[in-house]
């Protein structure tokens, strides 16, 4: 299809749309979509976006075409009108996508400082974390929890070490867990 043929065909269909001819309009929208799909993919790649984004952009352009079709003067050529809309939507789309990407990869200052900070020993840091959390427990519970959960001792060893029964150790652990979860629960 040459440019002149396409111009005539689409302009005629857009005039038909104004008379309420949904069939001609649908057929033309499909042709426009096909033509756009073909021409936009390489442009998107050149703009640094993936070719798979073309379908989103095609839909944007179709919606724009549909929403602003009253601004086409039927006495004037249709293709320049469509081209201006395509160009606007392409620019708007790439700008929008770029802003989105920036937001996704942009690092807030605090995160950046964390990266720059001297890499503290991971193990030490997590131990300090654990101690901080366990600080809410009474001393006797804290010792038992530390022994089992952090140092990995068995319930039997702990019972022997603290000179109590295994049952008492289990009860202490349960109480400690309930206590540890307690303050966090309201937020869940």
């Amino acid at each position: 299809m040459t440019v002149e043929e396409r111009e005539q065909r689409w302009a005629e269909a857009m005039r038909a749309e104004r008379r309420g001819d949904a069939v001609a309009y649908e057929r033309t929208l499909k042709e426009v979509a096909t033509a756009l799909r073909r021409s936009l993919a390489p442009r998107l790649v050149r703009a640094g976006l993936g070719a798979h984004e073309a379908e989103d952009l095609v839909q944007e352009i179709l919606i724009g075409l549909h929403g602003k079709r009253h601004t086409w003067d039927s006495a004037r050529p249709f293709l320049p009108w469509l081209h201006a809309i395509t160009r606007y939507k392409l620019i708007d789309f790439t700008r929008h996508r770029r802003r989105e990407t920036r937001r996704r990869v942009d690092l807030p200052l605090e995160d950046w400082l964390e990266i720059v900070e001297s890499p503290a020993d991971e193990a030490n840091r997590s131990m300090a974390e654990v101690d901080r959390h366990l600080a809410v427990l009474p001393v006797s519970q804290r010792k038992i929890v530390r022994a089992i959960a952090v140092e990995g001792a068995s319930v039997r060893d702990v019972a022997l070490g603290f000179a109590t029964s295994e049952g008492a150790v289990r009860v202490t652990i349960h109480r400690a867990i309930r206590r540890l979860l307690g303050p966090a629960e309201p937020t869940r």
């Binding site: 001819d21 601004t71 003067d73």
Partner: protein
């Protein structure tokens, strides 16, 4: 692909729902309404010059009217161009008369009034009055511009700003006490530039579609 086909089907079902609206008519009506609002503000807030009857037949008033009138017509045509995708850029020539009047006013000032006006506050009063009078036009023309399809939102915003200022300036001619054509050409244009800048800022936010 299928989602696009669905979209196309739903768009096509609305065929014929929209008559081709004449943006020409919409802009003409809006500019007339804006001018009426601005005139109302001149009569009610600023006040018409008391020697208006004598002034109305003088050359300075003729110049003011010619300059602001050519600006209103020129910027209206360019606004229509900005609202229509793929319109011919020859519409920009519509601003030529205003530019010619501007140049004539600055170069061949027949009056001997200073360019800064008759009093120290003349410039500030004049510019601020025009900005004030252009507010109704600004709102109305932005509404109409949104009905159109501006493919260059910043440019469209700037043109709307200039159009609004021209309407405000045209109404202000009834009140303006400074008759120097150089004064008019300079400071009326400055008001246009300020409104154009505001129009760019607003257009960037309001005219996307």
């Amino acid at each position: 692909m299928t989602s696009t086909d669905d979209l196309i089907r739903s768009l096509a079902s609305a065929a014929g729902a929209r008559r081709s609206a004449s943006l020409h008519a919409a802009f003409a009506v809006t500019v007339a309404a804006s001018l009426a609002c601005a005139l109302l503000l001149v009569f009610s807030v600023i006040g018409v010059r008391h020697d208006f009857a004598d002034m109305a037949v003088s050359i300075p008033f003729g110049f003011k009217l010619a300059y602001t009138g050519s600006l209103v017509v020129g910027t209206s045509v360019v606004a229509l161009y900005a609202a229509t995708p793929g319109a011919s850029a020859t519409a920009l020539y519509a601003l030529a008369p205003a530019v010619i009047f501007l140049a004539l006013g600055v170069i061949f000032d027949p009056t001997a009034f200073p360019i800064t006006g008759r009093t120290n506050t003349a410039v500030a009063f004049c510019v601020i009055s025009i900005l004030f009078l252009s507010l109704p036009a600004m709102i109305l023309t932005f509404v109409v511009m949104r009905q159109g399809a501006p493919t260059q939102p910043l440019f469209a915003g700037a043109v709307i700003g200039m159009l609004s200022a021209s309407v405000g300036a045209m109404a202000y001619t009834l009140a303006c006490k400074n008759d120097g054509t150089a004064f008019v050409a300079t400071w009326y244009t400055a008001a246009c530039a300020i409104m154009a800048f505001i129009g760019v800022v607003v257009g960037h936010r309001v005219l996307r579609w």
